[in-house]
Symmetry: C2
Subunit: 449 residues, 2 copies
C-alpha cells in the first residue's frame, strides 16, 4: 500500500504522523519538510528574543532524530513539495538529491502560514525583520544580544507586536509600536485594548496608534529610519508583524478548494475537496463553534489537535478535528489579556445574532485578601437565544485561564442564565465568592431580559 504523505513538519504534520504511526506501526509515513526544523515552538520566539528562554534548542520540542528513530517516521528535511496530482495520488518533490515524485495513499497538507510582508519601501533593508521562522527569531535575537541597538520599531499591534514590545523592552531599547487601527489587539475588543495600551505606555513603550507606516529608509542597504506620514523615527531594527497568510498555494494550484478566508476549505474531519487529501493547521480553515461557519484563526492548539484527529481518521477511526472558539491569551508585561468567541457586535450581527454586551470590573481575589487585582470583563450574549457569544478580559492575574470557563460555555451552547449558575471554585486567595465570570453573566443576564 502507498504510504501516508505529509507536507510540512510542524505542529499539525508531526501530530498527524505520530498519531497515525501509533495506530499503524507497520504502515509507512513520509513527512516532507522544506526547512530544517520540525515541531518547533513558534509561540516561544518572543520569549527567546527577550532572553527569558535561554537556549535556542529549548524551542525545539521534539528533535528530527526522535521522530525518525523513536517514532519510526520517514522524515525528510530540506524536501519541498512543489506539486500535487490529486488524480494520480502523487506529489512532486524537490530535495537535496533532486526532484522526484512520491505516490500517496492519503495526503495531509500542513504547510502552515507565513508572515505577511506589506509592500513597504525598504522591506529589503538590513535590519528589517519579520518573525516567520526560527531563523528569523535567531537573527533578531543575535542583533539584540550583540549589536546593542538603541531604538526599534514594531509594525503591528497584534500578538506578535505586543509580545515583542515586552521582549525588546527587556533589552533596554526605545520601543516604538505602530498600529494602523485605532487600537492594538483588534480581536480582543476595545475594552481590553485600552487597558493594554495604558499599560504599554506605563512601561515606556511609545505607542503610535492610527499610524500607518509608509516604509523604511537607510543608507548602504541598512535600516536607519521608519517613515510615517510626514515624519520619521530613527531606529536600528524593525520588526514587521502585521499578520499571517495561509500557505495555500500548493493546494490551490492542485485544484483544491480554498474557502472565503483564503485558507484551505475542509470538512469536519479535515478533508479537502480532493479525495484522500486532508489539510490542517495554519494553512486551513476551521469551523467556528458559535457561528457554525468557516473561519481562519491560525493558532497552535488548533493545529495540534487537528493534526492528531486527522492522524486518527487516516488510521481508520474517523475523528472530527474540533471546532474553534477563537480562544486566545496574551501577556503584555504585567497584564494578562484573554478572549473567546464573538466579541465584536457587528461581527455578531453579521452572523445573525442580536448581541447584547456588558463590561464590568471585578476582583481577582476576595476583596479583603492581599494582592487582589481588578479584572475587567466584557461578555456578549444573544438576545434571542440567550446564548453566550463570547467574552474578553484583562487584568494582572487570573485572566488567561479564567477565559476557559467561557470557552466551555461556547462549546456547549450554554445560555447566559445557565452560566450564571455554574458552580465555580471559590477560595479567598483565588476568587471572590461569585467568580468574575459569574458576576458578568449575572449582569448580562439582567440585560438580556
Amino acid at each position: 500500500m502507498d504510504p501516508i504523505v505529509i507536507v510540512g513538519g510542524d505542529a499539525a504534520g508531526m501530530s498527524a504522523a505520530s498519531k497515525f504511526k501509533r495506530e499503524h506501526p507497520e504502515r509507512d509515513v513520509i513527512v516532507f519538510e522544506k526547512g530544517e526544523y520540525v515541531s518547533y515552538a513558534a509561540c516561544g520566539m518572543p520569549y527567546y528574543i527577550k532572553g527569558a528562554v535561554e537556549e535556542f534548542d529549548d524551542l525545539l520540542q521534539v528533535s528530527p532524530e526522535a521522530f525518525i528513530e523513536d517514532r519510526d517516521i520517514d522524515l525528510r528535511l530540506h524536501h519541498e513539495v512543489v506539486g500535487i496530482d490529486t488524480g494520480a495520488h502523487e506529489v512532486a518533490v524537490d530535495g537535496p538529491g533532486g526532484s522526484f515524485t512520491q505516490s500517496y495513499d492519503q495526503l495531509l497538507i500542513a504547510t502552515g502560514a507565513r508572515a505577511i510582508e506589506p509592500p513597504f519601501d525598504g522591506m529589503e533593508l538590513d535590519g528589517v525583520h519579520t518573525l516567520h521562522s526560527l531563523d528569523s527569531a535567531k537573527a533578531v535575537h543575535d542583533v539584540m544580544e550583540n549589536q546593542s541597538p538603541s531604538a526599534v520599531a514594531i509594525v503591528g499591534g497584534g500578538y506578535v507586536g505586543i509580545e515583542m514590545a515586552e521582549a525588546f523592552d527587556a533589552h533596554g531599547v526605545d520601543v516604538h509600536l505602530f498600529e494602523m487601527l485605532p487600537h492594538v489587539l483588534a480581536p480582543f475588543g476595545e475594552m481590553v485594548a485600552e487597558h493594554v495600551e495604558d499599560h504599554l505606555r506605563d512601561e515606556g513603550i511609545e505607542l503610535h496608534l492610527e499610524t500607518a507606516v509608509d516604509g523604511f529608509a537607510g543608507d548602504d542597504g541598512t535600516l536607519e529610519r521608519v517613515l510615517v506620514g510626514d515624519g520619521a523615527f530613527d531606529v536600528d531594527l524593525a520588526l514587521v508583524g502585521v499578520g499571517v497568510a495561509p500557505n495555500a498555494e500548493l493546494a490551490s494550484d492542485a485544484g483544491i478548494e480554498l474557502g472565503e478566508t483564503g485558507a484551505i476549505a475542509i470538512d469536519e474531519f479535515g478533508r479537502t475537496s480532493a479525495d484522500d487529501v486532508f489539510a490542517a493547521g495554519d494553512c486551513a480553515e476551521s469551523r467556528h463553534v458559535v457561528t457554525g461557519a468557516p473561519d481562519y484563526v491560525p493558532l497552535a492548539l488548533t493545529a495540534n489537535r487537528a493534526g492528531r484527529a486527522i492522524g486518527q481518521t487516516m488510521a481508520g477511526d474517523e475523528t472530527p478535528v474540533g471546532d474553534i472558539a477563537g480562544t486566545a491569551a496574551v501577556k503584555a508585561f504585567d497584564l494578562e489579556a484573554a478572549r473567546t468567541g464573538i466579541i465584536d457586535e457587528s461581527k455578531a450581527r453579521e452572523a445573525g445574532f442580536d448581541p447584547v454586551s456588558v463590561t464590568i470590573e471585578a476582583s481577582s481575589r476576595a476583596h479583603y485578601y492581599p494582592g487582589a487585582k481588578p479584572i475587567h470583563i466584557t461578555m456578549v450574549g444573544d438576545r434571542d437565544s440567550k446564548r453566550v457569544l463570547g467574552a474578553a478580559m484583562v487584568g494582572r492575574e487570573g485572566v488567561a485561564k479564567r477565559i476557559d470557563t467561557v470557552a466551555a460555555a461556547l462549546h456547549t451552547d450554554t445560555t447566559v442564565g445557565e452560566l450564571e449558575y455554574f458552580d465555580l471554585s471559590y477560595a479567598p486567595p483565588f476568587s471572590p465568592t461569585w467568580d468574575p465570570v459569574l458576576t458578568t453573566a449575572k449582569v448580562l443576564n439582567g440585560k438580556l431580559d
Copy 2:
C-alpha cells in the same frame, strides 16, 4: 400583606433580602439575626488569624447599617427565631425586648451550619476553640497576637485545618495537625492529599495521620495537652475543625422535612415541604449536577446564589437555586488544590456510574517558559455514558481556576471526548499548547474506549 421573613443574616439570608427588595421596594422584608454580624466573610477567618487580613472589619462585607439604611431591609440583630408555625404562617422570636410572634407571607430559613463539637474530654478547657463564628476567629487571633503560644494542635485535616496550619505557622509556632483518616482533604481524593501532605511536612507542619484525638487535658481549666492514644502533645491552643452540621432543628421542630443528609430538603426552587417556606445556604441540601440527587456541600457560593434565586422567586419570578458540582479550591501554603464533581470511585459506583480514572502530570506553562510548575490532575469519566464525572488537581499555580473548565463540563453533560476538543486558551506564560485539562481528557478518553 404580611412581610417576607428571613431567619439568619448571613450570605443566603441577606442575598435573598437584597434581591427581593430590589424587585419589590414597597414590600417589607424582616431579617432576624441572632448574633451581631451579618453577611460576613467566614472564609476569610483563617487569613485574619494568619495576619494576612489586617483589619477585623475587612471581614464584614456589608454593614448592618447599609442593609437597613441603603437597602431598606428591616434587619433585627440579636433576635433569635425559636419556632415556626407553618400553618399559621408565623414565627416565634426572642429579642432583646422580649418574645413575640411575627407573621409572614413567605419565609426563608437561612440558619447556616455550626462547627461539629466532638465528644472529646476537655472540650470546655480554656484554649480549645472551634472556628464557628467571627467571635471565635477574633479569640484565636487575639491569642496568637498577644499570648505568643509555642505549640498548637489542629484537629481535622479539612479546609479549615489546612488553612489554619498555614495561619498558625505564620506566627512561628509548632503546628500539630491530627487527622483520623489516612489522608487530609478527603473530598479531594488521595492524589491531591498526598501532594498536600508532602508540602505541609516540607513547611514544617507535624502531620499525624490516622490519628484519633481522644481529648484535651490541663490544670486549672486551661488546655495544656492534646491526648492521642497512649501519648500526649504539649500545646497551648487547640483548634477543632472536624466539619460542620446544618442548623436544621428549627425546621425539623416545625415539621419541615429534612433530607437523608440531615440538612433541610428543598426542591429546585429552594422550597421546603411547608407552604411558603424556603431554605438556603449551609442549613439546606442542594442537588448535585452529576448524580441529580440531593447532597450536602455547604459552601459560600451555593448559599449566595440560592439566596439570590429565592429572593427572585419570592418576588414572583421563579428562579432555580442551581445545582452544585461540589467545586472547591483551597490554598495550602504554596500549593493550590481544587476539585469538582465525583472523584471517589466508590461514590461514583453508588450513583450508578462505571467510573474510569486517570492521573497525569502536566505543566502550568510551556515547558520552556521560566517558572513552569507541575500540575497533577486526576479525572474521572463514566464508561457507559462517556460523561466527565469529576476531577481534582494540585500544583503551585494555575490550579484553583483551571478546575472551573471541568465544572463547566459537568454542568453541560459534556463527554470526555468533547472536553478533549474544547478550544482553551494558550500562551507560553500560562499554559502548554494542550492545556493540562485537555491532556487529561485525551488520556482518559483513550481509556474509556
